[in-house]
Every structure is written in structure tokens, then in C-alpha cells.
């Protein structure tokens, strides 16, 4: 097994594209190393992208923020502005594993690991994050909700790397939140995850909203019907009831060791309501 640690993203993409065998990107390694140890993956090439400056920075861009795909959860939490403006994204990223995992795990890895239960993905979807993708044939952009197609299956071609996420600017009185359900208080994979982002006008009416759901289908979902339930309302009881129903209606979960279909559908509604209320509270104060 070869190990390479290039310092430009183009070089990384070339290495990945040129490898005839299985080639893997090493970001935090918190999923890759586990899969290698249990021999689920036996890559011929591992490309460590942590030496690529562009992928390790957080910088302002067009009123929003561009977050390098290899920035760790711990670094996101320590960033002065992120937690204020995109608290949901930061709390989601900080739910990925333990404190130890936080020191390594990245949102790029969380997305590209291709798990429908990835915590940061519904939160990124909720805030309308757009991923910058670099490959052997140059750069392109993809909405986060369009990247994962099915478990372990991404809309990336050979050699393509998610370089960064743009968290676009939002109007004042906007905020977001993320909640997940797990059997314990920590250390579990989400049984259901929900991200909600919303904006209010001066009168407190919801002018824009996005709802992302995780672990309830083969891929993380952007639930338009759930957003519509909120937009144009004061996020009152009636709206929340609609939101719950819409969230549940969007679920196409499976029975597995982490939860039943019935349980996931139930809890998706519960979390959507609870997450929306947190986002609402934050937007009012924003």
C-alpha cells in the first residue's frame, strides 16, 4: 500500500486518477482506518490531503464562509465566527464521535464516507452548503444534497476530491440547528438526524427555510415539503404539526441494528419539531 501526501489539490487529484487499483483519500482517517483494519477496504494508494493548505482553511467569501473539507471538528468549534452564524453546522460536526475523533474527523470525510447517517450532512444541506470539487478535469460545484447518491456511492468521478464547502450568506434573523437521536448520550451513529435552517422577517414570519434529514433513507434528504410547512408562518403549533408530518412522510428508512422503520419515522417528526424550535429561537436572537 502506497502513501502520498501532496501539497496541492491538483496533485492529489492526479495521483488518485492515475492509480489503477483502489485509491482512497485520507482526511481524518476516522472511517478509513477502521475500514482498512477490518479489511473492508484494502486500498493500493492512500492520499493524505491534510498538507493541502486550501483544504485546511476557513475563510470569508461573499458574506459567507468557505470551509476547507479537511478542517477538523475541533477546529470548526474553535473558529470565532462559525459557531455564531452557523451553530447547527458546527454542532453537527461536533457530534461526529468522541473528543478524540473531533481532533481528526472532517466534514469532507464525513460526507465522502458515504453513510446516510453522517451527522454533518443534513446540517450542511439545511444551510444550503455548496461543495467545491476538484478533479483531473478541473473544478466544479455541487450542492451537498446532490453529492451522496446511495450508501458508499457518490456523484464524484475518479480522481475527484471535495475541496471545500461554501456556507452562503444568510439575511439577518437567520440561524440553524441540528439534532440527532442516539440510544446513548455519545459515541453512537445517528438513528435519525435533522438539520433545520430558517430566516425570519421583522414581524417574526419565516421567510426562508431548509430541512435536512439523515439516516431515514438511502441518502441524506433535503425535505422541501418540510420547509414549505414553515415558510410564511410564525412557526406556530400548526406549522410545527405540518413540519412533523412532512418530515415523517419523507422517510424511507430500513430496519437495522440501530432502529426500526417505525421508530425512525416517529422520531424524524419529533426531531424536526425540536430542531426547528431551536433554530427559531436562535434566529430571533440573531
Amino acid at each position: 500500500m502506497r502513501y502520498e501526501a501532496p501539497d496541492t489539490i491538483e496533485a492529489a487529484a492526479k495521483l488518485l486518477a492515475a492509480e489503477s487499483g483502489d485509491a482512497r483519500v485520507l482526511a481524518g482517517g476516522t472511517d478509513l482506518l477502521v475500514q482498512m483494519r477490518s479489511e473492508i477496504l484494502t486500498p493500493a494508494l492512500v492520499v493524505d490531503i491534510k498538507k493541502i493548505a486550501e483544504m485546511r482553511q476557513v475563510k470569508e467569501e461573499a458574506g459567507g464562509v468557505r470551509v476547507g473539507a479537511a478542517v477538523t471538528g475541533a477546529e470548526l468549534k474553535e473558529h470565532p465566527r462559525l459557531s455564531k452564524v452557523w451553530p447547527g453546522v458546527v454542532e453537527a460536526a461536533n457530534l461526529i464521535g468522541s473528543t478524540q475523533i473531533q481532533g481528526r474527523a472532517t466534514m469532507g470525510g464525513n460526507l465522502c464516507n458515504g453513510s446516510p447517517a453522517a451527522d454533518s450532512v443534513p446540517a450542511l444541506i439545511a444551510v444550503g452548503a455548496v461543495a467545491a470539487i476538484v478533479g483531473p478535469n478541473g473544478r466544479r460545484e455541487l450542492k451537498v444534497e446532490d453529492i451522496m447518491l446511495a450508501p458508499r456511492k457518490l456523484a464524484l468521478t475518479k480522481g475527484e476530491i471535495v475541496a471545500s464547502f461554501l456556507l452562503p450568506a444568510r439575511p439577518p434573523k437567520s440561524s440553524d440547528a441540528y439534532l440527532r437521536f442516539i440510544p446513548r448520550t455519545e459515541m453512537d451513529i445517528a438513528v435519525v438526524g435533522c438539520g433545520v435552517s430558517l430566516s425570519l422577517d421583522g414581524s417574526g414570519t419565516c421567510t426562508a427555510a431548509r430541512v435536512g434529514l439523515g439516516a431515514v433513507a438511502a441518502r441524506p434528504l433535503l425535505v422541501d415539503a418540510a420547509a414549505k410547512a414553515l415558510i410564511g408562518t410564525k412557526v406556530d403549533e400548526a406549522a410545527l404539526a405540518k413540519l412533523e408530518a412532512a418530515a415523517r412522510a419523507a422517510c424511507k428508512p430500513i430496519d437495522d441494528k440501530r432502529g426500526t422503520i417505525e421508530f425512525r419515522i416517529d422520531v424524524a417528526g419529533v426531531l424536526a419539531r425540536r430542531t426547528a424550535l431551536i433554530a427559531l429561537e436562535r434566529a430571533r436572537k440573531a
Binding site: 477490518s38 479489511e39 437521536f181 440510544p183 446513548r184 448520550t185 455519545e186 459515541m187 453512537d188 451513529i189 438513528v191 441494528k257 440501530r258 432502529g259 426500526t260 417505525e262 421508530f263 416517529d266 422520531v267 419529533v270
Partner: protein, 769 residues
């Protein structure tokens, strides 16, 4: 909160009951302590095991030729390297062992009986070569239908694991084989008669899942066999003499040829009382003539080392309106895994042990299934049966409108009570424990929204057994203490404290070690909550032997008769003025003259310790339930238990708290999850969910001390009882928080939420989730 409740006025002790630092502490906080996988021998090879991917399959052939040809592969062993053992139950320390089954557990023979069952082992120059070699071994399997659960396995049409298994304990003996290894029955009085007198009868069925001990240190050993056949094993185990006995038997070697050294042990809880890797490592070492190191991965620990039984339990209890229980009956079906030997017998014997009953009947079935053979786990068998009985007792208290502690006080076993398993109890602390619970601030504290409080009692027998301790008086008056029961949680501290108390020396003057099997006489393993009791008893005897010899040496030196010298406050003194004027001598003075007055002074005790006494516990649990997700959070917890006497209270509290935490995991989230293919789906700490720090509250303890008259310091065993009450206590708390009673473990969120919803749907009817 830590409290102590004493039955008798405190005896005056200098050391016992204090909280000194443990003698092995510094090495454990600096990373210097050597655990199983930390030992290394020059030129050692890496040993790895090839395991069956099937839950049940006939092994038609094993071809190792390609693997053997791989450069770096030094030895391969399969079933052909272990001679078969006859079916014969022999006492091998830990209960009775049938070596026909042990040899098949270590290495599959005719059939692979569970996913993860070893079929071959390789020793190679590196981890990667060993892994490569395993891939090159070709095993031809004929896959057979499998059966995973005891009730299914008992059906007449169930796939048979052993075609010669005739149920024992049934007369007349069955003519056809089955998966039921044994039927056991314990009865007192006449239950039918008892139930006739009952005003209320409650009958319930419970189901529990297998749970793993979950020790953080995987099994590991290093073995080295020299050309003359003498062997060294360095291993993490609860009993190195047991490892020696099993290895000698499986390999056909003399016991004297095998020297086993116990490393520091990273948790066992019963799971490290058996052999898995050791015989393989020895066989590989003999073949390769190099040291071989074997370490299980966490996945192997879950797939192939013994959890405790999952079970189906039926309980029927009858009582008078005033709460007096008149009869108790239970049927226990415990899964043993691939080979017979579930803890159903102690499960039967302990089921009703906390109560004074005239009429009891408990029937148990030991059932084989296509899972790893169960191993002991803290109070083996008791947590399952007592969970079921305590849950019915709790329901009885609701039905009769009697406070659950009052109901238990009305029926509690006390000194002189004929135990449900036969003999009369000596002095025990159950009533003291129940009263301490009643008086505890926890029991009186108000509850919040969606919270409920539950209580349950628990019992474990505790044992003694073969024990040897050697205590050497060194030239400078310091002492070296050699014990043979591996120290899992502070044993060395307790032993030194008892020796220091006897000898009147400072704790720091005694250096304890856990000796290897060639340096000390036989010791049964650390288990059955015996180590502080038994090694403590032997330590006291050894200390007294030193005192006796010290007096002899002084009398010789002073040229006065032995009865004219006496031992007082750590010194030998003339008994009285008529004995003449002599300067009292402490152990330092005695040590100086030892060589000139007859030679080195050693206190030695080799005993079979008798007089172990049961320990009763009472746990109080508060649970808060999220009614929308069914998630339970334990918000407050108190453990009350009779320790006899706490030698080092901190480590007694630690046992109480640790057992409670394991029980809470058992109650709420821990379970083996198998697919229809008979493969384990959660062989890791990610999805086998043991409690993490943020899941638990502080765990308060109340140490009740009703001394055991048969131990020099009143010690009872205390390690096992703490895991018995939690499941029923938590279930009772969940019932009171939700109004729904659950009859299945674990009470995981999907089950609890479904129970709450079903109850709403049928207007509050009881869920049978």
C-alpha cells in the same frame, strides 16, 4: 455520597477500613504496568486465528498447503494438532469441565458451531504475513441450518448441534438427542399447596439477550516452548493455575513443564476464566520453536469469547393480601452457546434466595445454540433469574398497594432462614440493607416529570477455594507477599492491609506480587468474589505464622520458654517481669537475627478456604423517560450492599459502582444482535453499547457491614452481587415513569417507545414489549 452502616460496634483497627494508596498504583497511572499485550519476547512470532464465517457447518476438509508455503509462515495448527478428549466431567478449578468440549471450543473439529469458531491458527514473522496466510487456508464447509435462541433450540424440529446430546437430569432418559443438555430442578415444600393459599397470583414471562463482560483489554498471551519441552506462558487471566491445567490437558504435557505468569489484567468479570488462545500459542510455539504472541482483536473478543446467556424465564408468585409470599415458581431456559454449561443451575438456586419461602420450585434447562460458548459473567446466572423474580415482586407490590421495600421486609431472608436452595443462612445483611435503603436520602427524594423510581434486591453465594500465600520476612524487616489470585481491582492493597494489621508494620514495608505457577502453591482463580476473602484468609494465616516464629526465635535468644514471650503491638516481649528483662524486638530486630537463630522466616499458608458468606444488595434507580423517543436516562442511583467488613472501602465502593454500571447497560442498551444468517452484526463498542461517562450519574453507595464470622476480618465476597439488582430496579423505575411494564431486556428506545404507544392505543394496557 458514600456511607457505611455497621451492625456491630467498630473494632479498633489500625489499617483495616482506611483508604491507603494501592501498591500497584504508580505503575498504572504512568503506563508502566504490563498488561497481556504489553509483553514481548525476543524473536517472537505473530499468531493469528482463522475463524468460521458460518454459524453452523460441517468441516469437510482444511487445506493449509498454500499458507504453509508462504515465506514468513513458521507454523500452522488445526484440529489435527490436538488429540481428541473423551466426554468426562473433571473438576478443573472452575466448576466441572468437559475436556471434549474445551478442545472443541479452542479449535473446531467435526463442525464449526458458531460464527468465529477457530478452525486454524498461524504463526508468522509479521502481522501482515499472518493475515495473508489466513487467506490462503482453504476450508471446505458444508453449511448447516443454525439455531440461535433457547426457545427455538428446544423445539423438536430444531437443527441439532450435537447428535449425541441426551438430556441429563430427566428420568427416564430421553431416547432421542436434543439441544437440551440438562434439566435441573430445585424445590422446597409443595408449590401447588402454596398457590392454593394465595390471594394474589402473578405469572409473567421474560426474555433477556446475551451480554458481554466487555472488559477493555482483549485476550492476549505470549507462549514459548523450549527444545526440552518446558514452556512459559505470559497471559492476561483470572486464573493462571487454571490456564496451566487446561493447557497441560489439551496438549498432553506434564503440568510441571508449564510455567504460567499472570500479567496485569485489564478486566475480566468472569470472561477470563477460560482458555482460548493459550493452547494455540503453545502448540504454534512448539512447532515453530519460537515464542508466539497472540492478541485478539475487539471483533474477535465479541465473536468468539464467551458472553453470558440470553434466556427465557417464566415466573409465578403467589401472596396473601398482607404481602406474605406463599409460593414461588420459575422455569429458566438459558442458552449455553455451542457447548453445554450455561449458568442455569446457579440461576435456579439464586432466583428466590432473597426471600423466606416455604414453597418454591425452580426448573432450569441448559440449552445449546449456535453462539460462542458462554463464559462466567459476574454472579453467573443470578442476574437473569433474579431480574425476573424481582420484577414480579415489584408488580406484586403495586397490585397489593404495599411499598416495595415494606413488601420485601415482610418476606426477606435473615439469619436462620432456610434458603430457597436448601441450607439455612448464617448472619446476613438483607434486612439491614432494606432498612438502609428506606432511610436513604435517595428513597425520600422527590421525583421530576417523566421520572420513576425503582428498587430491587439481589443475592450471590460467594465462594472460597484453594489458595496459597507466601509472606517472606526480608533481612531488613520488610516483607514480600506472594499471592496467586490475579488482582483485578485492588486485591494487593487489601492483602497488604490485612498483613500490616496483623504484623503491626507500616503498609509501605510490604511489597505484594502475584506469583507465577512455579513459584507458589496452587491457587484457584479470581472469581466467585473469592480473592479478598480467600487470599485474605491465607495472608492472615501466613502473617500469624511469622509472628509465631518470631516468638520462637526470641525465646531461643532470650533463653526463656516460648510461653514466656508474647506478641504485642508489633513487638515480641517478655510475657511478664518473671520472664526477665529483655528489650522488646520488632520484625526488624527479628529479621537481623533470623539467619543466626535458625534461618529465614517465611509465613506460608496453603488452604482450601471455607466459610464464604453470601452478600445481599439493594439498589435504588431513578429513570427519566423521553415520552416522544422512549429514551431512558438514569438520573440517580444508589447501591446498598452488605460487605461483611470493608477492608479498603474505596475499592468496595468501586465494585458496587462498577457492577451497577454494567447492570444499567444490560438493562437499557447492551445486546448481541445477530442477523438471520447467524452472523453477529455488532462486534464492536460502536454498536455493542456499554455505558459511557455521560450516560451515568454519580453512583451513591451505602456499605452495610454485617461481619462474616468465618473470616478473621469479617470479609464477605462483594464483587458479584452488584450486577444482580440493576435490571429489575431500572425496569421498575421505567414502569413508574411510563406506566408501562416491560418484560424484555434491553429496554432500548424503540421498544420503550412502542410500549408507550401501544399502551396509549389500548388505553393504558400493559405492554409486553
Amino acid at each position: 455520597m458514600q456511607e457505611r452502616v455497621k451492625k456491630e460496634p467498630e473494632r479498633e483497627f489500625r489499617v483495616i477500613g482506611t483508604r491507603p494508596l494501592r501498591p500497584d498504583g504508580a505503575d498504572k497511572v504512568t503506563g508502566r504496568a504490563k498488561f497481556g499485550a504489553d509483553f514481548k519476547m525476543a524473536g517472537q512470532l505473530v499468531g493469528k486465528v482463522l475463524r468460521s464465517p458460518h454459524a453452523h457447518a460441517r468441516i469437510k476438509s482444511i487445506d493449509v498447503s498454500k499458507a504453509a508455503a508462504l515465506p514468513g509462515v513458521k507454523a500452522i495448527v488445526t484440529r489435527d494438532d490436538f488429540k481428541d478428549q473423551g466426554s468426562e466431567f473433571v473438576p478443573a478449578g472452575e466448576m466441572l469441565v468437559n475436556y471434549r468440549d474445551v478442545v472443541r471450543t479452542v479449535m473446531a473439529r467435526e463442525k464449526a458451531l458458531f460464527e468465529g469458531h477457530p478452525v486454524a491458527a498461524v504463526a508468522a514473522t509479521s502481522e501482515s504475513v499472518a493475515r495473508e496466510a489466513l487467506k490462503l487456508i482453504k476450508v471446505d464447509y458444508e453449511v448447516l441450518p443454525h439455531v440461535m435462541d433457547p426457545v427455538d433450540a428446544m423445539r423438536p424440529d430444531a437443527p441439532l448441534l450435537h447428535d449425541d446430546m441426551i438430556t441429563a437430569g430427566v428420568t427416564p432418559a430421553p431416547t432421542k438427542p436434543s439441544n437440551v443438555a440438562k434439566r435441573v430442578e430445585f424445590a422446597l415444600g409443595d408449590v401447588e399447596k402454596g398457590f392454593k393459599d394465595a390471594d394474589v397470583i402473578i405469572e409473567r414471562e421474560f426474555n433477556t439477550k446475551p451480554v458481554h463482560q466487555g472488559y477493555i483489554e482483549p485476550h492476549a498471551c505470549v507462549a514459548s516452548v523450549s527444545e526440552d519441552g518446558s514452556a512459559e506462558v505470559w497471559v492476561t487471566t483470572q486464573g493462571h493455575w487454571i490456564v496451566r491445567a487446561h493447557c497441560a490437558r489439551l496438549l498432553g504435557w506434564d503440568i510441571s513443564k508449564i510455567r504460567v505468569t499472570a500479567s496485569e489484567i485489564g478486566g475480566g468479570f468472569g470472561g477470563k476464566t477460560v482458555v482460548y488462545l493459550e493452547p494455540l500459542a503453545l502448540a504454534l510455539s512448539k512447532k515453530s520453536r519460537k515464542a508466539v504472541k497472540m492478541v485478539m482483536s475487539r471483533e474477535e473478543v465479541f465473536r468468539a469469547s464467551g458472553p453470558t446467556s440470553g434466556a427465557n424465564v417464566w415466573v409465578k408468585i403467589g401472596a396473601k393480601k398482607n404481602g406474605k409470599i406463599v409460593a414461588g415458581e420459575a422455569i429458566l431456559k438459558y442458552q449455553a452457546g455451542a457447548f453445554q454449561g450455561s449458568p442455569v443451575q446457579p440461576g435456579c438456586m439464586s432466583a428466590f434466595a432473597p426471600y423466606d419461602l416455604e414453597h418454591v420450585k425452580v426448573v432450569g434447562y441448559d440449552v445449546v445454540t449456535n453462539r460462542p460458548k458462554v463464559a462466567a459473567y459476574r454472579a453467573p446466572g443470578a442476574p437473569i433469574s433474579e431480574y425476573a423474580v424481582e420484577s414480579v415482586v415489584d408488580e406484586l407490590s403495586e397490585r397489593l398497594g404495599i411499598d416495595p421495600i415494606e413488601l420485601r421486609l415482610k418476606n426477606a431472608a435473615k439469619e436462620g432462614t432456610k434458603a430457597a436452595y436448601g441450607p439455612k443462612f448464617g448472619p446476613i445483611g438483607l434486612i439491614e440493607g432494606l432498612k438502609a435503603a428506606q432511610d436513604s436520602p435517595h428513597w425520600k427524594a422527590p421525583l421530576g416529570k417523566n421520572q420513576g423510581r425503582g428498587i430491587a434486591a439481589g443475592f450471590w453465594f460467594n465462594i472460597g477455594g484453594e489458595t496459597t500465600v507466601s509472606l517472606q520476612l526480608n533481612e531488613d524487616g520488610t516483607l514480600s507477599l506472594m499471592a496467586g489470585t490475579p488482582d483485578i481491582g485492588g486485591l494487593r492493597a487489601s492483602l497488604c492491609m490485612m498483613a500490616a494489621e496483623e504484623l503491626g508494620v507500616d503498609l509501605g514495608k510490604i511489597r505484594p506480587i502475584i506469583a507465577d505457577t512455579s513459584s507458589l502453591g496452587y491457587n484457584f482463580l479470581t472469581g466467585g468474589s473469592r480473592s479478598t476473602f480467600s487470599s485474605g484468609m491465607a495472608t492472615v494465616e501466613a502473617a500469624r505464622a511469622i509472628i509465631k516464629e518470631a516468638c520462637v526465635r526470641a525465646s531461643k535468644l532470650w533463653e526463656i520458654p516460648i510461653d514466656a514471650v508474647t506478641w504485642e503491638d508489633g513487638k515480641v516481649k517478655p510475657a511478664g517481669d518473671n520472664a526477665g528483662k529483655h528489650q522488646p524486638m520488632d520484625l526488624g530486630d527479628i529479621a537481623k537475627i533470623a539467619g543466626k537463630t535458625g534461618g529465614p522466616i517465611i509465613g506460608y499458608s496453603a488452604i482450601t478456604a471455607h466459610g464464604a458468606a453470601p452478600s445481599f444488595g439493594v439498589h435504588i434507580a431513578d429513570a427519566e423517560i423521553d415520552p416522544e423517543t422512549g429514551k431512558a436516562t438514569i438520573t440517580r442511583y444508589t447501591v446498598i450492599q452488605d460487605a461483611g467488613r470493608a477492608i479498603h472501602p474505596s475499592y468496595v465502593e468501586g465494585q458496587y459502582q462498577g457492577g451497577a454500571a454494567q447492570g444499567i447497560g444490560w438493562a437499557l442498551n447492551e445486546e448481541y444482535i445477530y442477523g438471520d444468517d447467524g452472523k453477529l452484526q455488532n462486534p464492536g463498542f460502536l454498536d455493542y453499547r456499554i455505558p459511557v461517562a455521560s450516560d451515568l450519574p454519580m453512583i451513591d453507595t451505602i456499605i452495610v457491614e454485617v461481619p462474616n464470622p468465618r473470616h478473621p476480618y469479617g470479609v464477605r465476597g462483594i464483587g458479584e452481587t452488584p450486577i444482580v439488582p440493576p435490571m429489575a430496579a431500572v425496569a421498575a423505575a421505567v414502569k413508574r415513569a411510563t406506566g408501562v411494564r416491560f418484560f424484555e431486556l434491553p429496554m432500548s428506545p424503540p421498544k420503550v417507545l412502542k410500549g408507550i404507544k401501544d399502551a396509549k392505543a389500548n388505553g393504558g394496557a400493559k405492554a409486553t414489549a
